[in-house]
Symmetry: C2
DNA sequence: ATTAATTTTTAGGTTAGTCTAAAAATAAAA
DNA sequence: TTTTATTTTTAGACTAACCTAAAAATTAAT
């Protein structure tokens, strides 16, 4: 039961995120890109995490989280997202400012702390970016959602999340008065550049393909 | 303007605490004892901190914080104590449980975060143990206080702080219904073991010298 | 003023986590 | 099915933080 270092935790999260909750293996290069560290160093760390029983690693085959590794990664995601809720709901941070701070806060090591925080925030199910928050047992809802770019002409949907978390993107959405809960109707689709003419609440505006590919939408017919 | 690591921060705090705010130099051995690290390692770190302009170090002469080092240490104390207030006031932790968690939280690196937290907590002046909290400019009140062991016979004082922060001591105080704000009157002093017979609110009880030497008291005549 | 005790520094070593360059394995193309 | 390109691993090095044991400096006692 060795301690898991902050560095190791960041790798676990990267592996979790690259292999999307579970299932497919994460490759050396994918992790290298995700956390901006050389592939050689990633191989090194794979060996160490494997040694600790947090991942299954076979040379040239990529890695998968073990049950233990998955549990730890899930707890990190829980902590990250709960802290984001705290920062936005209680300290009035903007949703674009919280990620980097949560990236540090997620490593604070206290179950008591995180469970009390959860209670204090009234057990939120989603973070400020619409991402689901695992509960104390690691269970979280997977919401049925599609990308705005996949929404059919003349249909209406509600924004429930963002794929891209970059501050620049989130600030752009703020300026467009687009946020979680916004209602969007597709008025027209332009094939030559995949841009969209949409109606948001009362206003009409044009969204680029890039924007449409980074907004998660929920439609009425679940 | 190099980054200051978590480890370096812990040394800065230790130096700050050993040299009591400012003034006298902190010796290698004192720091070694304070943070439970070998004297050889402490010497190593003194060189590095000195290199970074955070302390003045001359061989065999101990160290003193520079202005820059003092500012950084003061900010750490501010963060530590504000987080402690948060944990007790908002998350309902007991005052004996918060120190270790704050020991981690104090290293989160965001001025925006700490200043918003300060506001959220309504700019508290003292932490749950009665220790003063530096403001955003590093200024903090030094309260006039004495130890309970120094209080004269038949005098009355109010508990305003604790010297010892160990959970066992704080739990003992809880069990004795003693906390910040408690009023204590000295009824009798026993010379042979320095124990005291005191009155707290309505009840009479005996306190050992050890307890009396770890409670800070404020008397009416400031 | 010597000697003895204590404190501090140096020397040499270890581990975690990183890097670059080169070698080996795998996957893609011809 | 060879050849070529890409991915992954290995080899060798570095830095931050630690350690123990030994040397040097300071302080305290005789
Ligand atoms: Mn992180
Ligand atoms: Mn988020
Ligand atoms: Mn600390
Ligand atoms: Mn405190």
């Amino acid at each position: 039961m060795k301690k898991i270092s902050q560095t190791e935790e960041n790798y676990l999260k990267a592996i979790f995120s690259v292999s999307e909750s579970k299932g497919k293996a994460a490759s050396t290069n994918e992790i290298s890109k995700e956390i901006q560290i050389s592939a050689a160093s990633v191989t090194d760390m794979f060996k160490r995490l494997s040694e600790k029983g947090l991942i299954d690693y076979k040379k040239h085959k990529g890695v998968k989280l073990t049950e233990k590794g998955n549990q730890h990664a899930t707890k990190l995601v829980r902590k990250h997202r709960l802290w984001e809720v705290f920062l936005v709901e209680k300290l009035n941070f903007d949703w674009g400012e919280v990620h980097d701070i949560a990236e540090e806060l997620e490593h604070i090591n206290s179950d008591e702390l995180i469970n009390r925080l959860d209670k204090y925030l009234d057990y939120p199910k989603f973070d400020p970016h619409g991402d689901p928050i695992p509960d104390a047992d690691g269970i979280f809802e997977i919401r049925s959602q599609i990308l705005l770019s996949e929404l059919d002409l003349e249909k209406t949907g509600i924004v429930v999340g963002v794929q891209e978390h970059a501050p620049a993107f989130l600030e752009y959405l703020d300026r467009m008065k687009l946020g979680l809960g916004s209602s969007i109707t597709i008025l027209e689709k332009f094939d030559f550049d995949q841009s969209l003419r949409v109606k948001i609440e009362k206003k009409e505006l044009t969204l680029t393909a890039k924007v449409a590919q980074n907004l998660f939408i929920q439609t009425k017919e679940k």
